[in-house]
Amino acid sequence: MATLESDLVKTGISGLDAILSGGIPRSNVILLEGAIGTGKTTMGTEFVYRGAMEFGEPGIIVVFETSPDKLARDMAGLGCDLPELERQQRLKVIYTTRDVFRQELQQADSLLLEEANKIGARRIFVDGAAGEFALEEHSSREIFHILAQGLQRENLTAVLALEAAALNTNAGPSLHEESIADTVIRLRMEDSMRATIRSIEIVKSRGHDFQMGRHSFRIIDKKGIEVYRRVQAPRKPSRDEAAAFDPSTRVSTGVPGLDELVNGGYFLGSTTVLAGISGVGKSVMALHYIAEGARLGERSLLLSLDEQVPQVLRNAASIGIDLQPAIDRGIVRLHYDAPQEIEIDHHFNKIERMVEEIKPRRVVIDSLSTYGSALGTEGRVFRDFFHALIDLMKEHQIAAIYNHENPEMFGMSSMMGEFAMSSLVDNILLLNFVELGDTLRLALTVGKMRSNPVNRASRECEIVDRQGMRVLPRQVPFAVAKMAFSGYHGLISRAPERRPPRPEAEE
C-alpha cells in the first residue's frame, strides 16, 4: 500500500527527500549505517535540526561519545544553530551512556522519553545506538527490538546511527539490526581513482518507493549535507516525455554562412556535436553561437571544462565578441568547472540547477572529450552522463552544442572517435584540416542532421582576427588566387586530389 504523502516525514536534507520519493513514513525506525567518518552524526543531527527548523517538529538528540558542546560547535560550522533551538525548547541534546540508555528504554516511565514528551518531540536521533549494545547476535537483536518498540510507542521517527566498519566494502554479512529496522540507509566512503567520494544508499524502506543505488553526497560548510541523485537514476517522467526536439523552431548558429548549411539553424531541443581536432575552430564556433543568442536577447549558458572564464572572455574578444555586457545583463552565463576528480552526480546536479535557474535557450558544453578523459569513455558512466545531459536539454527545449575533440589531424575515420555515441546526437558538424599545397585550410562538413535534408559538401571556413569565423561560399570568384574546395575531391580523406576539369556541358 502506498504511503500518503502527508504520512511522510521529510528529512529536509537537500536532495535526500527526492531519492526517498518525498520522505520517510512517519514512525519508521531508520538505521543509519556506516564506517567512521562517513557522516552519520552529521546526517542524523541534521535530520532532527531540519525537522525543528523547517517542519515544526521538535526533536531529541542522544549522544554517547560526542560531547554536546562539540556537536553544537561542529554543526554550527554547517550552518545549524543547535543552542538556539534548545533555547526555544524545540530541541534537546541529551548525553548519556549506552547502559543507561538501554535501561531507560526498558522503563515505561523513561526519563528520556519524558524529556521528549515535554517538548512534543516527533523526531529522535541516537548517535551510536545500535551494534555495541550486545555481544552476541541473539541479545543484540532483542535489545534492538526493545529499542525499536520503545521508540514506536512514542510515535517518534527515529534515526539510529550504527557504526559498521565493514560497510565500506561491498562484501560482508548483513547486520541483524537491518531486519528489524523499517528503513536502512548506508553511508560509504568510496575510492575513485585517488579521490574519495561519499555515497548514500537506501537499502530498504518499508511502506514507500525510493530510488535505489548509490547516490553521492557532500558535507558543505555553512550548508550541511547535499545529496546528489546518481546521474543514471530516472528523473521525472516529463523529462522522458519531452525527449524530442521541437521540429518547428530553429536557432541560428551565429556563424556567417553556416545557417544555410544547416537549413536555417538547429532545432530547439536538438543535440549538436562539433567534432574536430584541437585548434580547428570548435570553441570559436561555439562563441559565435552564444554571441548570436545575446544579440537576439536569448539566454545562453556556456559550460567550460577546458578554459576558465577569463580565458573564454579573452578568446571571445580576440574574434571581436564582447560577452561582458550580456553577462552583466544576465542573459549569458559562463561557468567553469575543473575537470580533475570530477564527481559526476554532483556535477550533473549543478548543471541541472543552472539550467533550471537560467532557463537558457542555448547551451554550449566545451568539451565532451574532457568529460571522456575525466570519466573514461569505455565505461557506462560517461555514456549515462551524456544521456542524462541530452535528456535534460530536451526537457527544457534547449538547442545544445557539444564540442568534441576528434584526435585525427587529417581525415576522419569516425564521426565521434572513441565516443561511440553518434546515435544519441541529432546533428554532427565535422571540422577538419585539409592540407592543400603548403597550407592547412579549414573544412566544414555536415556529417549528420536528423530530420533534415543534408548537404554533405565540404565547405571552407576561415577565422579572421577580430572578426571571427565564416563559412565561405562554395564557388569562390576566379579572382581569388587559391582554388576553391569545389576544385578538389577527397577533402576529408587524408589525400585530397584536384578534380579534373569538367567538360563544358557540365558547367
Partner: protein, 132 residues
C-alpha cells in the same frame, strides 16, 4: 580577563569553593543535559567520591544544576541552569572556566593560602567584613 574581575565574579557565585566544583560545573557546561548514574559522574570527574558528591550537592543547592527526582532509578537527568544567576553571569563564568588558562586562574583563586588563611577570593571579603 583581569584577576580582580574574575575574583569579583567568583564572589557573586555561591557554591564554587573548590576546584572540583569548577570542574563539575564545566562538565555540565559541556554536557548541559546529562542522563547518568552517580557512579558514572564520579568517574568522569576524576575526584574522590566524597569531594565529587560534595561538589554535586553544592551546585544543586546553588541552583546551577537540577537533578531529576526519581530515587528509585540509578540514572538521573542533570540539567545545567545557565540562567541561575542574573546578567548571564554563569554563562560568562563558564566561558572563562572552560578555557585552560581561565580554569587555572579560577582554581588559583580558590586555593587556600599555605598558612591556612582563607583562599585569596575570601580575603577581601573577610577584610570588608572586619571593617564593617
Amino acid at each position: 580577563m583581569k584577576v580582580q574581575d574574575l575574583r569579583s565574579m567568583l564572589d557573586r557565585m555561591p557554591g564554587i569553593r573548590h576546584a572540583g566544583d569548577v570542574d563539575l560545573l564545566v562538565f555540565f557546561y559541556r554536557h548541559p543535559r546529562a542522563l547518568l548514574t552517580g557512579e558514572q559522574l564520579i568517574a568522569y570527574l576524576g575526584y574522590e567520591r566524597e569531594q565529587a558528591v560534595k561538589s554535586l550537592e553544592g551546585l544543586i543547592e546553588a541552583g546551577f544544576v537540577t537533578r531529576s527526582q526519581n530515587p528509585s532509578r540509578t540514572a538521573r537527568l542533570y540539567v545545567l541552569q545557565l540562567d541561575a544567576l542574573p546578567d548571564g553571569l554563569l554563562s560568562r563564568f563558564l566561558e572563562i572556566a572552560a578555557m585552560r588558562q581561565g580554569r587555572q586562574d579560577v582554581i588559583d583563586l580558590l586555593k587556600p593560602e599555605p598558612d591556612g588563611a582563607p583562599a585569596a577570593r575570601h580575603r577581601r571579603r573577610a577584610s570588608i567584613a572586619k571593617v564593617a
